[in-house]
Amino acid sequence: MPAMGYGHIRVVAESRRQPLVPNGVMGMLIFVICEVMLFAGLISAFTILRSSALVWPPPGQPRLPLASTAFNTALLLASGALLAAAHRVFQRDRARARRPLRLAVLLGAGFVALQGVEWVRLIHQGLTLTSSTLGSFFYLIVGMHALHAVAALALLVYTVVRLQRGWLAQSQLATAEVFWYFVVILWPILYGVVYL
């Protein structure tokens, strides 16, 4: 005779509470939200200045390079797509994620380098921080984005190094991804607002 009636015993191991989102990802998300507000403020100031100006762009100032920056935008978007591909590959086979991750870093570095070349050209043409309100805002907004791009790129390089040494955790990759996607998604908006 069974000692107890029909039923089920739940064999549940004492489980440790896991965070919903890895701490690194959560921290990065909060940081990105703050940075979105920073760029929203800059974009707002630029939009008001531009709409209040009688003539835009200010006379005597060079035109911003639309075509080469569009190419640069494509580079950055491709870098973001490669990082997303690296994420998918990493879940199945960590070693195979190296290639798309390295390519993403390479394209990101290409974007930053080409932006630098454009800046040098614009400075030679007379667009400086003090030459006009366009110059001030251009270098402030695009410079802030470049600063974020360099920081995110450094984080991606660190991620690649960790992956090569076999120390990379999924959460670390996700943290770097959040930062890079922010840089990638923000750029077409800035391109539309500042360049077009």
Binding site: P2, A3, M4, G5, Y6, G7, H8, I9, R10, V11, V12, S15, Q18, L20, V21, L29, I33, V36, M37, A40, G41, I43, S44, T47, I48, R50, S51, S52
Partner: protein, 92 residues
């Protein structure tokens, strides 16, 4: 004294109603054109709503994630549940 204060107050209210238009900000040149007015309105809306959308979006995503984790734990617990009858019969 109170009558004087009352008259002064009334005069101040009437003086405030005198100008046809009032510039909200003495130093900005906005509001002169329709385009500038639209820009002010649009950017005010952007800066007001964006933090709400961002924080709201984060909370919504975290709640969805919490539900997913809860559901996974429930499924795992159901899989690990051992029938008592089969245990009792096997021990005999």
């Amino acid at each position: 004294m109170t009558r004087l204060a009352g008259k002064s107050g009334l005069a101040a209210v009437l003086a405030a109603a005198a100008p046809r238009t009032a510039a909200a900000c003495a130093v900005c040149l906005g509001g002169q054109s329709e385009l500038a007015r639209q820009a002010f309105f649009g950017t005010t809306m952007l800066l007001t709503l964006l933090p709400l959308v961002l924080i709201g979006g984060l909370i919504w995503w975290l709640r969805r994630r919490a539900r997913e984790v809860e559901e996974q734990a429930r499924r795992a617990a159901r899989r690990e549940a051992v029938p008592l009858v089969s245990r009792a019969s096997s021990s005999r």
